[in-house]
């Protein structure tokens, strides 16, 4: 970095961060005399975790689910408002995922913070306070998701459990894929994220799961910007006449096969006439935790259903 071009405000933040870190360090030196846990310190994705975490803040619903699946649920002291699974996660104190502040997170005195989104300088701010923070971006492939599960396992000292979790999911995924009958041409689908017709392409994480089952998104042809999440027009959806319609806006926006059939012109769709409009659980469809198997099973089930042949 070119020092001469550092804006004053950034410099100020840096100085304050260093001071804060120094203060935090002093305080810790007197109090932390806990016995070093086996395997720690450990470095995960560039973050050093000095001891086995016992107070975890998870501001990411996917990672909350992974932590519970690993058996680390009892160490979670706070989650974000989207963390609603398993049921125990709902009972934890809640943070506002879109307005996370360093203070509001630090107030829980966590020894590990897991994020899937950094609103700004949250990660740096927490690091300055000496709180190890892991930031996992949404994965693009199944392999990425497995990698995050293994990394999280390493970070909380449950590596064998993470390996077992991944192996279990891999096995289920392979079983579901094998059960899909072979076809000459791929099924096409329209995947709806909300009623304003935002959709996703085959190159997204969820699109990749559909791809494993041999399905192609109609949005692939509409993603000139390459975001993976284009907004479609109703005309485009009608003209594409997909084999399946998957609704990932059943909870947020109350959509169902009935509401889709009522939309202007949509009754002409083959998928509507043949009963191949499939409601999905919004939450399942936007997470990459252990329940991705449930999403895959729901889609595979729709293909195997009588209407889907």
């Amino acid at each position: 970095m070119n020092r001469a071009r550092t804006p004053p405000i950034v410099a100020l933040v840096l100085i304050l961060s260093v001071l804060a870190a120094a203060c935090g360090g002093e305080g810790d030196a007197g109090t932390t005399t806990a016995a070093p846990s086996a395997g720690f310190p450990v470095e995960v994705a560039g973050t050093v975790i000095p001891a086995a975490p016992k107070r975890i803040v998870s501001a990411s619903a996917s990672h909350t689910e992974i932590l519970y699946a690993l058996g680390a649920g009892e160490w979670i002291v706070a989650t974000d408002e989207f963390s609603n699974s398993p049921p125990a996660a709902e009972a934890t104190p809640k943070l506002d995922a879109f307005n996370l502040g360093v203070e509001s997170v630090a107030a829980f005195a966590p020894d590990l913070v897991v994020l899937s989104y950094d609103p700004g300088d949250l990660r740096d701010g927490l690091a300055a306070l000496g709180i190890p923070t892991l930031l996992f971006a949404p994965p693009l492939t199944l392999e990425d998701a497995y990698g995050q599960m293994r990394a999280l396992g390493a970070a909380v000292g449950l590596e064998p459990e993470a390996a077992a979790l991944v192996a279990g999911i891999e096995e289920e995924v392979a079983r579901l894929i094998a059960a899909v009958p072979a076809r000459d041409t791929a099924f096409t689908y329209y995947y709806e994220l909300d009623p304003t017709l935002y959709s996703l392409t085959s190159s997204t994480f969820v699109g990749g799961l559909f791809g494993l089952l041999g399905m192609e998104s109609i949005a692939d042809a509409a993603d000139a910007a390459g975001t993976g999440y284009p907004q479609l027009s109703a005309e485009f959806v009608l003209a594409a006449d997909p084999d399946f319609v998957f609704l990932a806006d059943t909870i947020c926006c109350g959509q169902s096969a009935a509401t889709v059939a009522e939309r202007p012109g949509w009754a002409s769709l083959e998928a509507v006439a043949e009963g191949r409009v499939v409601p999905l659980d919004d939450d399942l469809a936007s997470r990459w935790g252990p329940r991705l198997v449930d999403l895959l099973a729901a889609v595979a089930g729709a293909i195997a259903a009588p209407g889907g042949g």
Partner: protein
């Protein structure tokens, strides 16, 4: 007054040109879309629906649905919304003698925004209640503005406008708060605020048509009184015009139309300013000319803007409000530059 001699009567030429523009826009809007369909097939599909006519368009069931259930209602609705907003804008500019007045001046947008946001966060954006909530919110906001303006002893238009500013600020703050509390619906609220006709059908046309009809009729009948008010409130009173009564009727009619338009299309900005000013710049400052031409011109403008919204990023859509503002903002600069010509102190 240094403005060009204002046209007092509608010239057949001006009406003819605007009408041709509108019909052309409607036709292009029907023929062009995200999906390429042959013009002949589209026209025969529409003709097929006419009574006593039977033509085979050769379109598939889905393509026929695109023409009849998506494009046609959308084009008709764009024309209705454009006509209503442009007429309401012209009326507001006349009744408040303020060139910058737009249909959202007295809090319609903020009220509708709050109503729609509450509807979306409680019932979801696809609910049929959302337009009703927006409509109700808009009327409540303007009623509040009127009550506040009256309580402030305001007989003048300025007091009302100021009351509108206060009401709009309050409703916008409330809307932002509600939206922020329900972060998961941000995208839907946002897409509503930017204006859209992307999911409309005949039911929206049926919803807007009666309100737009009444609103346009009342405003057109008041076009002469708006001319009288243009000379000044006191002068109009001496000419025997009850300024506050005319203002109430005109504002009520404009608000009714605007609220209904906003309820079905979201917030479409700038139409209410761009179109009346374009008419004013081209044919003069009499409301006897401005109002009827704004109705036709507004309809044509919004049909074309929506065509842009549908095709510029096809098969995705650009928010309608983005297109109207993109054209509207530069135009506005021109209006501001020439404002000293037509608008006196």
């Amino acid at each position: 007054m240094t403005a060009p001699r204002p046209l007092r009567r509608l010239s057949p030429l001006a009406v003819g040109v605007t009408l041709v523009l509108l019909l052309g826009a409607l036709l292009v809007g029907l023929l062009v879309g995200a999906v390429g369909l042959s013009p002949g097939a589209v026209l025969s599909e529409v003709a097929d629906r006419l009574p006593f006519v039977s033509v085979d368009s050769g379109l598939s069931e889905q393509e026929a649905a695109i023409v009849w259930d998506l494009r046609l209602p959308r084009v008709v609705l764009a024309a209705l919304v454009g006509a209503t907003l442009a007429a309401a804008g012209a009326a507001y500019q006349g009744v408040f003698r303020n060139p910058l007045a737009d249909p959202y001046l007295l809090g319609v947008a903020a009220g509708a925004g709050l109503g729609a946001t509450i509807g979306i966060v409680t019932l979801g954006s696809a609910s049929a209640v959302v337009p009703a909530a927006a409509f109700g919110g808009a009327l409540v906001a303007v009623a509040l503005t009127y009550a506040l303006g009256g309580a402030a002893g305001g007989r003048s238009g300025t007091t009302l406008v100021l009351a509108g500013v206060a009401v709009a600020a309050f409703f916008t703050a409330a809307q932002t708060f509600v939206q922020q509390r329900h972060a998961d619906t941000v995208r839907e609220v946002y897409s509503w605020i930017l204006g859209r006709l992307s999911t409309v059908g005949w039911s929206e046309v049926a919803l807007l048509a009666p309100y737009a009809g009444v609103s346009l009729l009342v405003l057109l009948l008041h076009r002469r009184l708006l001319d009288v008010m243009a000379v000044g409130e006191e002068e109009a009173e001496t000419l025997g015009v009850s300024v506050s009564r005319v203002r109430l009727v005109v504002v009520a009619a404009a608000t009714l139309g605007t609220a209904a338009a906003v309820a079905v299309s979201g917030l479409v900005g700038f139409v209410g300013i761009v179109v009346p000013h374009a008419v004013r710049l081209m044919v003069g400052s009499s409301y006897r000319v401005i109002l009827p031409l704004s109705v036709l011109g507004g309809a044509a403008f919004l049909v074309l803007a929506d065509l842009g919204a549908r095709t510029l990023a096809a098969p995705s859509e650009v928010p309608l409000g983005v297109i109207t503002a993109f054209v509207g903002a530069p135009f506005f600069a021109v209006v501001l530059r020439s404002a000293r010509r037509g608008w006196g102190p």
